[in-house]
Amino acid sequence: MKNISILLTTDKLSLQDCYDFVDAPTCGGIDVFVGTVRNHTKGKAVKKLDFSAYGPMAVKEMQLIAERALAKFEVHKIAIHHAEGLLNIGDIPVIIAVSAAHRNAAFDACQFAIDTLKDTVPIWKKEHFEDGEVWVNAHP
């Protein structure tokens, strides 16, 4: 679909690519969410994060989220890009960009997309500490 950009990649994500994809003359605003790798969790220092994915299904689920966002909110275009592989502190695992005529719809769609991605898209991260590693959220 020409209003949706989905990407799952081992390359570095590009904020500019997401912005350029959703930018349009009919839009009055662009909302962008950027996830970043944090250097601590529950008081413990994190060294890096390793993202693995069930690739084909992850892409399908991201596509579904984008389609639902376009159907549910008055937005124009959406980009959902996610990285896989080993990421260091400050690296970017996820970018969601949404353009809309009016800002509220862009904010709402962006929040919906990141919240749903964290619930449904088959991607897992493993936190690497100085003294070991753990699958995030494995014991909810």
Partner: protein, 80 residues
């Protein structure tokens, strides 16, 4: 019949497998497959918080499996 089973995240660590082929009776459901997995990997008796996908779509317990289906065992996701 046979199905392909993909295991991810902590489930791959617990079982030591990421991809297996399983023989299962015709007309088996997702629920039957879960039981079979627990027999094969008793360590899954204490870890059952996972979802199942059949051919890349989430599937509930009553979904019927077909020969050569690809089943994914999906522990709680943590992307983003």
């Amino acid at each position: 019949m046979h199905v392909h089973v993909l295991l991810f995240g902590i489930i791959a660590d617990l079982t030591g497998e990421s991809k297996i082929s399983l023989a299962i009776e015709a007309n088996a459901t997702v629920k039957n497959l879960k039981t079979l997995l627990k027999e094969k990997y008793p360590q899954l008796n204490s870890y059952n918080t996972y979802a199942v996908a059949v051919n890349e779509s989430y599937a509930l317990d009553d979904v019927l499996l077909k020969d050569s289906d690809t089943i994914a065992i999906i522990p709680p996701v943590s992307g983003g």
